[in-house]
């Protein structure tokens, strides 16, 4: 018989995320859950501010966020859009307890599962299997960041925009266009021009 529950199973997605990486028993998953904190935030909340120490890594159950750096002229560069099934945080700040270089801002009302430094270390001690899960996650993240760095230099803004649409077909419906410009590292005006030039063909 199925357990009745007010809030469905808030761990369903994150468990599936883990299982895609390697098999976990019910017991292991329960232990994992015990280290997580469920949190709801309103649209436009600031999860992390440049200069602060990043206290949590956060898995998105539902919602949308953006990690970005604001330069001296107040222009920002989007490092990452995160939606359902993504993790948020500033790794450098989280692990070294140094001031973060990045801001994290929510673009929609968002539900998160959060883990702080001590909880993560305790989890890793209790279930060393998770070292591997997190290693693989970070490896994938590094590979995609390397690709993005190289693409950003090697290709034109129009090419990078086309590649972005292909890789993230659902992001444009969820975030304002000038954030996409800031992800591509171009001005909003120029992105508008690119879009218009494309239409003309």
């Amino acid at each position: 018989m199925k357990k009745a529950s007010v809030n469905e199973n808030r761990y369903a997605e994150i468990d599936a995320f883990l299982q895609r990486c390697m098999p976990f028993s019910e017991e292991e998953l329960d232990i994992f859950h015990s280290f997580l904190t469920y949190q709801k935030f309103k649209k436009k909340s600031i999860l992390l501010q440049q200069g602060e120490i990043c206290k949590h890594e956060s898995y998105i159950i539902k919602g949308c966020a953006r990690t970005f750096y604001t330069d001296a002229n107040g222009h920002d560069i989007t490092l990452l859009f995160a939606v359902e099934d993504y993790w948020l945080g500033d790794i450098a700040s989280f692990y070294k307890k140094t001031p973060s270089r990045f801001n994290i801002q929510l673009i929609e009302d968002t539900e998160l599962l959060q883990i702080d430094y001590e909880a993560k270390e305790a989890l890793l001690e209790q279930l060393p299997k998770f070292e591997r899960v997190f290693r693989i996650m970070v490896q994938n993240h590094l590979a995609s960041t390397q690709n993005r760095l190289v693409n950003n230099i090697a290709f034109t803004a129009a090419e990078n925009y086309a590649a972005f649409l292909k890789q993230f077909p659902n992001i444009p419906q969820r975030v304002p266009q000038h954030y996409i410009a800031s992800y591509l590292g171009i001005s909003p005006e120029f992105l508008s021009k690119i879009r218009n030039d494309k239409k003309a063909i």
Copy 2:
């Protein structure tokens, strides 16, 4: 009494590298060494070619290398300079056995300790502690790649060049200047101009 040896201890540096991450016993280090292969390569050797599958991760005992992407016009973008105490490889290709996006070319005669996929998995199985070592390595690598991506977009070429000199004061004596331009994502001519403008001040 010290063991006499023709080739000193070729593991001295890599062991120190590991110990900076966490403590290891002599036995553990011996097991680790048993998975490594020592290799010498001549200057200009190609360790990995765009399109091939990356078969090894390589620790540099002595020497200098460059990882780069060559675009359709034959221009290249340097992803990484590696010298003593760095690791080389294309993570995405190594783990997923997909064609590599990058070339790795040696800039000096180089001595490496290499590990292939099967050996690395066997090492991780026998000594799961290494999951953590590699996780931490990859995290640091990701953090610096994120910074580089953002800096590349946010700052001017001259600023990025100054930051490069500060971060890697010894690289310019070991690699031709046009490789540094390709790391910064600018033309060699423009780097030459930047250097000249700076002198003028």
